[in-house]
Subunit: 315 residues, 2 copies
């Protein structure tokens, strides 16, 4: 059955005022930030949000601030109309889709805005780290320890951009609860830490990874895989499942588990960026599994970089 | 006449809930963040806040995050009871005094909080930049261009700490309007930029400098001046007034104005940290006055570092 049409909002003030009026009426607001091209994984975040709030806001915004000039911002998949159709069909529905044009440029009558324009390509800000001033934007939020490892090593500006845009979205949407996917495990933990350290009055929820029938973790980037690489990419989830199985059956040596996993991905044609077993809170590498850990992998198949992970909780 | 007694709140949630209930009743909240030891300058900020909101929150919190280990956090003047008396007497009154114990330690059941304690001295966190983990706090907000010059040169962690604690206070107090003194001109401009860049729904107001009868800019640090240095420190405001007078009378060469001002402060026994004429928005140095500028000075008298400034608007 088709549900209600979400209200589409593009202006910050419209979004802000909506939340205030909802809250004044006693409602709670659940927020799911996305970059669009929605799949079942996103829809599961919305389903989770419905458990914690009675009004739901989904943002669709491809954040230039988290892409390096050499990354795939300009080719990031986009299908706004398709996304709206999917959101209309979500059980319980979505109240608002917040889809701003450019969160960095819309600085009103700032004396800087006019002088310092970021580079536009196809009418789109390519990256606000490409030029010195980034549309006059110069404020960045960093979670200085958690951002260092894992994806932070190969994507130096990534988490700075994610945390900064999430801070902006939190200030505009002003939700009670925000839901993030555990697939981007480090991102979830970094946002959790940022919310704690900056005293946001927001509850952060981590939602379980949603996988295809064959085990591939759902991602908007999966559509960019060739059929052949789509098949080869299964090596990641299979290697992780095997490691989890081995750990649960007594193999607690992380060095052994990692050295068993990496070849499986390489033999399938993957270029491994990292494969690390880290503590679930600090994300610091672990040698022997004696506390809750998570096995995190990032690997390239063709020109598509995929991330996946599995939590391992030995009782 | 004595006004109403402000409610003193120490807990983040109590503060947050108060704002929500006030807003639900249709009130607007004005916020004046301070480090206590209040003087007429602070009271003028409260007076300004009353023009923009009908409920007033004043925070009193000496922020360890903005002091370097070699700076004067441990000797920063403090008189909470005296402050409360002054606030009680403010025309129009103050509704809430937010006086948290430690905004960095109170991280509830964080897995890090217990392990990573900052150094305490006289029961007080000395500086959360003294140890690697800063009480487990690791999230910092930086306004990367505006923070570089003026006070940023000699106080490398200062603005990082100010912007971060103001972000925390904004998230806890959640005001409609916040008032900052123009005496800390760079701080005011940095907060204004941070609010713009992070999309806080808060109006930032800059309030004029309040001076003693003889022209000394009011500061909590003035009490630390010896009577002799208190007199010598007048050289700062006098040099600035003279420069403003000369500029208004045709001397638009900043090099000349600065070279006339510095000796006056040095001859009075001051050690000049900087004396710069900068553009009012970008805070970038100006050679010839052909737009609104501000003459900013920081100088040491004994072991007390004083800052002062004057805006120069040539028509």
């Amino acid at each position: 059955m088709a549900g209600k049409d979400p209200i589409i909002m593009r202006e910050k003030d419209e979004m802000r005022n909506w939340t205030r009026s909802m809250r004044a009426q006693g409602h709670t607001i659940g927020f799911v930030p996305t970059m669009g091209y929605l799949h079942q994984g996103h829809l599961s975040l919305i389903k989770e949000a419905h458990k914690h709030a009675d009004r739901i806001v989904v943002s669709i915004y491809v954040n230039p601030g988290q892409f390096s000039p050499n990354e795939d911002l300009s080719t990031y998949p986009c299908d706004f109309q398709g996304d709206c159709q999917k959101l209309k069909a979500v059980p319980g529905g979505v109240d608002v889709v917040f889809n701003p044009d450019n969160l960095y440029a819309a600085y009103g009558n700032s004396s800087l805005g006019s002088e310092r324009n970021g580079e536009m390509r196809e009418g789109r800000l390519v990256s606000c780290v490409e030029n010195k001033w980034g549309m006059g934007h110069e404020t960045w939020v960093r979670v200085e320890n958690l951002e260092k490892g894992l994806c932070g090593k190969s994507r130096p500006v990534f988490f700075r951009g994610v945390v900064t845009v999430v801070t902006k979205l939190f200030n505009i949407v002003d939700p009670d609860v925000a839901v993030f996917g555990k697939k981007d495990y480090q991102q979830w933990k970094i946002i959790e830490r940022m919310v704690r350290d900056l005293d946001f009055g927001i509850k952060v929820i981590g939602s379980e990874i949603v996988r295809e029938q064959d085990g591939l973790a759902m991602s908007s980037r999966n559509v960019k895989l060739s059929p052949d690489n789509r098949q080869r990419a299964l090596s990641i989830s299979r290697a992780l499942s095997r490691a989890k199985f081995d750990a649960e059956n007594g193999q607690l040596n992380c060095h052994e588990l990692i050295n068993a996993a990496i070849p499986k991905i390489r033999e399938a044609g993957g270029r491994v960026d990292y494969a690390e077993i880290v503590e679930q809170e600090s994300l610091e590498p672990v040698e022997t599994i004696n506390k809750p850990v998570v096995f995190c992998v990032a690997a390239w198949f063709g020109d598509v970089r995929l991330v996946d992970n599995m939590e391992i909780d030995i009782n």
